[in-house]
């Protein structure tokens, strides 16, 4: 069952992601993707994640598609203007790629080319509207297309946004603009996430809670300090600090989070960030 059908069937859905390499050696990335075969409903392919120049998302989505895996094409507005974005959407469509995750994107100065001119001609909301327009058979200014694409569009939301009300307003806008599902920033504070979901409940949009595996106590502290909207509660940090086997503890924490989140949202999105080969163990431990 594909991502769209799985979400429609109301089952608990798991997605994960792979990050294209910086260069042309793709074997390791493809091996990571293979580990997810049969375990997830969709695989996000990140779009120059953290604003670091690397292999593009579109071609990697195509490689997954060819191998019978279901890609989710992440698309940011940082590097392409409205012409480039529309063209790449059409390109994705003719390559058979259906799922698109529309993002504004990290700012260019946060990556390895801080000299770059950031584009942001469109934002996530307008990108979703553009997807809708293309599906209706025109470009974003109303010119007719010879053949219209069909997508399943999603978006992101940060449940730890500040203020969270602003995130709720934006989430509502994204739904209005065409988002059919949401993936979130990493969740560690289950109580706060539950509150967020209560506010988002009226929208009835499927939400996949973000899971980032903790690699160490240091990583948790780093995220608390530097990653907007991420809050790792102290007990989890202590657990990692005291762990004899950090990998084992990390898997336990992720699985425990998934079990707790299960009653609150329609799925999880696991972002392994280098620990791709540990995702199956997390899913085993979470009994998924």
């Amino acid at each position: 069952m594909g991502l769209q059908e799985s979400l429609a069937s109301k089952k608990f859905v798991v997605t994960s992601e792979i990050g294209p390499p910086k260069g042309t050696h793709i074997q390791e990335m493809l091996a990571d993707a293979e580990l997810l075969r049969g375990r997830v409903e969709g695989i996000n392919v990140t779009d120059l994640q953290s604003s670091v120049m690397r292999l593009g998302s579109l071609s990697v989505c195509h490689l997954l598609q060819e191998r019978g895996l279901e890609p989710i094409f992440q698309m940011t507005c940082r590097d392409r203007n409205r012409l480039g974005l529309q063209a790449d959407l059409l390109s994705a469509s003719v390559l058979g790629i259906k799922n698109v995750l529309a993002l504004t994107g990290d700012y260019a100065s946060l990556g390895d080319h801080p000299q770059a001119k950031p584009v942001f001609d469109l934002d996530s909301v307008s990108l979703l509207r553009v997807i809708k327009a293309l599906e209706a058979g025109t470009d974003m200014v109303g010119n007719p297309l010879s053949g219209a694409p069909k997508f399943f569009a999603g978006a992101v939301v940060n449940p730890g946004g500040n203020p969270v009300e602003a995130q709720i307003f934006k989430m509502e806008k994204k739904i209005k603009a065409g988002a059919s599902f949401f993936q979130t920033q990493a969740v560690y504070d289950v109580g706060a996430f539950e509150k967020f979901m209560k506010r988002a409940a009226p929208f009835q949009a499927p939400v996949l809670a973000g899971i980032i595996m903790l690699k160490s106590a240091g990583m948790a502290r780093f995220m608390n300090k530097n990653v907007a909207g991420v809050f790792v509660p102290e007990p989890l940090i202590q657990k990692m600090a005291k762990a004899e086997d950090r990998v084992k503890t990390s898997i336990e924490i992720a699985a425990e989070l998934i079990k707790e989140l299960k009653g609150m949202c329609q799925g999880v999105h696991i972002m392994p960030i280098g620990w791709e080969n540990k995702v199956p163990a997390v899913l085993d431990a979470a009994k998924l």
Binding site: R129, G161, K170, K173
Partner: protein
């Protein structure tokens, strides 16, 4: 207001490597306010150039170097000194440098780097900046411009990058513009305005409008 910053002297002397006789222009507008092109800086520069073996044929501090008609009228009184100069050093913003270059018919070197201010023109008004986008959205955003207050110039609300302290993750010194907008709208009882979905900006509106291009002032600036 255009904010400028003087280039390192070595860079300026590099520009003047092949020239001996230099005329200096200063500006009593934004460059004076920036401390880069007022009379004291012009005199300091004169001294520095002379120390480096150059001859300063003359100098002039004009009220607004960005106004070409004004620059032209000031040039007339300095014909001799200008004629004696191999080149001009303009201690002002990029607009001023281009204006001097356009009306002097002489090599004109910039002495300053112009720092981006998000399109702010006229007098300095604190942190409120205008990008001159030609399609004002301030009514919808509580009087805070998202094009200049948000790093990503977002029109449809905050991204996920607001820190716990309410700053922008791109620059932790900077307030998150959309947080400010949210707070302002809340204070004004207008949070409903956050539901408005904006069309992407029409960048063709960032061109000077036709009415201005037909004006006498415009013609003067274009040297027509």
């Amino acid at each position: 207001m255009l904010l400028s910053q003087q280039k390192p002297l070595e860079e300026i002397l590099g520009f003047l490597e092949r020239e001996k006789n230099i005329f200096i222009f200063g500006c009593n507008g934004c460059a004076e306010a920036s401390g880069t092109g007022g009379k004291p800086q012009v005199l300091e520069m004169k001294e520095a150039l002379e120390k480096a073996g150059k001859k300063v044929t003359g100098f002039s501090v004009v009220d607004f170097l960005c106004q070409k008609a004004l620059v032209q009228s000031r040039l007339r009184g300095k014909t001799k000194e200008l004629k004696a100069a191999d080149s001009i050093l303009a201690m002002t913003c990029g607009v001023g440098v281009q204006a001097v270059a356009a009306v002097s018919n002489k090599i004109t070197h910039p002495a300053c780097n112009t720092l981006p201010l998000g399109g702010m023109r006229g007098e300095w008004q604190g942190s409120e900046r205008c990008q001159e986008c030609g399609d004002c959205v301030l009514d919808m955003t509580g009087g805070i411009c998202p094009l200049t207050a948000c790093s990503k110039f977002l029109l449809n609300g905050a991204c996920g990058g607001t820190t716990k302290e309410g700053k922008c993750e791109v620059d932790q010194e900077m307030e998150c513009g959309w947080r400010l907008i949210y707070e302002r709208l809340e204070k004004l009882g207008q949070v409903e305005k956050l539901r408005q979905v904006y069309d992407p900006k029409d960048h063709s509106k960032m061109m000077p409008p036709k009415g201005l291009r037909l004006s006498e002032r415009w013609a003067l600036e274009q040297g027509k």
